[in-house]
């Protein structure tokens, strides 16, 4: 189902429709990525906090890597992984008939890797901040570990968890290098806001670039303000 492309001559608030399309695509990508980060990241954070296996530091380091790795490294490895010439890209290709690169799904997978530590690390901190006696109390009342996690642990750690989700969301909004390598700049599918802005600059369309950058800046500011407020309130209650 190919999205209907808006006419590039139409504008809203001074920005042409394709830029708004790119923004909407970026918001969708960030939202779905955040959802996946929550579903995968919370159990992972809990496991990293409680496991005693000697592999734990290695896995924690692997999770933390996207914080320091140049995005082009992530992009490069994903390019190789997504290539339909060998697995796993070939499996995807065989199953769906389309390449994993240049697809929205490919971007979601890339974004989950790219933003993983920005969600998991706050999750870990949040989960650790809950006094274990409260969790023990839940277990003492006969609740299963899963029930304790979902009904007691997560609700008590909600501030840090929301902060992690917000950071994961905000970080995905800023994704550029990875998308540049595996996206293919397809309007409405992989042409995210950061790529659209880059294109405007390359075309020397500075007025549009200014306006669009301002929108992205404002959005990022608001998101981070939410995270900051959550963390400050959380700290005061400690």
């Amino acid at each position: 189902m190919f999205p209907v492309l808006p006419d590039s001559a139409s504008t809203f608030l001074g920005l042409p429709a394709p830029l708004w399309q790119a923004l909407w695509l970026t918001l969708r990508l960030a939202a779905i990525t955040t959802l996946v980060l929550g579903l995968l990241g919370l159990p992972l954070a809990r496991w990293l906090n409680t496991t005693r296996t000697r592999l734990a530091p290695v896995i924690e380091t692997l999770v933390a890597l996207p914080v320091v790795l140049p995005p082009t490294v992530i992009g490069f490895y994903l390019l190789v992984a997504f290539s339909p010439n060998y697995p796993p890209g070939s499996w995807w290709r065989a199953a769906t008939g389309a390449p994993l690169a240049f697809s929205f799904t490919g971007l979601v997978i890339a974004s989950v890797f790219y933003s993983l530590p920005f969600a998991v690390q706050p999750f870990q901190a949040a989960l650790r901040s809950v006094p274990p006696e409260l969790l023990d109390a839940g277990a003492a009342h006969g609740a299963s570990p899963a029930r304790v996690f979902l009904r007691v642990h997560v609700p008590l750690a909600w501030r840090g968890i929301v902060a992690g989700l917000t950071l994961g969301f905000a970080h995905t909004l800023g994704e550029f290098g990875v998308v540049l390598m595996i996206g293919g700049s397809i309007p409405g599918v992989t042409k995210v806001a950061s790529i659209a802005l880059y294109d405007e600059v390359q075309k020397l369309a500075y007025p549009q670039a200014h306006a669009f950058a301002a929108v992205l800046l404002g959005l990022s500011f608001v998101l981070l303000l939410i995270v900051t407020l959550l963390q400050r309130r959380g700290a005061r209650l400690m």
Binding site: F2, L79, V80, F82, S83, P84, N85, G89, G97, A98, P99, A101, F102, L180, I182, G184, S185, I186, D199, V201, Q202, K203, L204
Partner: protein
């Protein structure tokens, strides 16, 4: 010990004290020919150290406009150098067409048949077609013109994946992400890629000729080494290299 450190540091920052450094900005389609050209230039002008930056012609021009320190621009068209002249960033007298490029449609999988451009676009086995950014890369512009002239632009659009420049476009095809792609002839004739896949030439009448222009920036116009490079491009050896990479030479 500290004397050794100071000496080592001094040598490090001294750089090439003999000869000039020539900074060349080259459109990505020249990447492949440049290795051979610059090796030859080293023989022509041994004292000059050449530094190369590649990218889409439009990108390089934007950088020059914003002060990038290039001396020579090898553009994939003539419009970009002319835009630079108009803004006083380049030396009008130095502009010359040094080669003409050809656009090809390339596929790396043997199963993908390339009978004609229109055929390939409509081929259901071709799910993604790579093209360079038409706004900044002349080869992308030519590909778009060809598709429009053939009347298959609407059929092609949903399948297009856009590369930043010819190099990235070629990489999309080479990695298998795109079944076919519009690249320069120099790509498919380059040593590394000529063994991969098959291609057809896009008929020249479908787009404006890809006249490649070389020009000196105002910075480069003052450098003897830059003028030497222009002369070098006209030597028989350089012309042979360009021909080997599929470029047609001006009379």
């Amino acid at each position: 010990m500290s004397r050794c450190v100071i000496l080592a540091f001094a040598l490090l920052v001294a750089g090439p004290t003999r000869g000039e450094i020539l900074s060349i900005a080259a459109a990505s389609n020249f990447t492949y020919a440049l290795d051979a050209l610059n090796a030859e230039f080293k023989r022509y002008s041994p004292k000059t150290a050449v530094v190369v930056a590649t990218g889409a012609s439009g990108t390089l021009v934007a950088q020059i406009r914003n002060g990038a320190p290039y001396d020579v621009l090898l553009s994939a068209d003539l419009e970009y150098p002319q835009a630079l002249i108009k803004e006083g960033e380049a030396d009008a007298k130095s502009l010359q067409t040094f080669a003409t490029g050809r656009l090809v449609l390339w596929a790396t999988k043997p199963a993908i048949e390339l009978k004609s451009v229109a055929d390939a676009v409509r081929n259901p086995a071709v799910k993604k077609i790579a093209i360079a950014n038409a706004d900044t890369a002349p080869y992308g512009r030519a590909a778009k013109a060809a598709l429009e002239k053939l009347g298959v632009w609407a059929a092609a659009k949903p399948k297009l994946v856009t590369g930043e420049n010819i190099s990235q476009t070629a990489q999309f095809v080479e990695s298998g992400g795109a079944e076919a792609g519009f690249v320069s002839l120099s790509v498919v004739l380059s040593p590394k890629l000529k063994v991969k896949g098959h291609w057809i030439e896009v008929p020249a009448e479908l787009h404006a000729p890809l006249a490649h222009g070389v020009i000196l920036t105002t910075r480069g116009a003052k450098k003897a080494a830059a003028k030497e490079y222009l002369e070098f491009l006209r030597t028989p050896m350089a012309q042979k290299i360009l021909k080997d990479f599929g470029y047609a030479l001006p009379k």
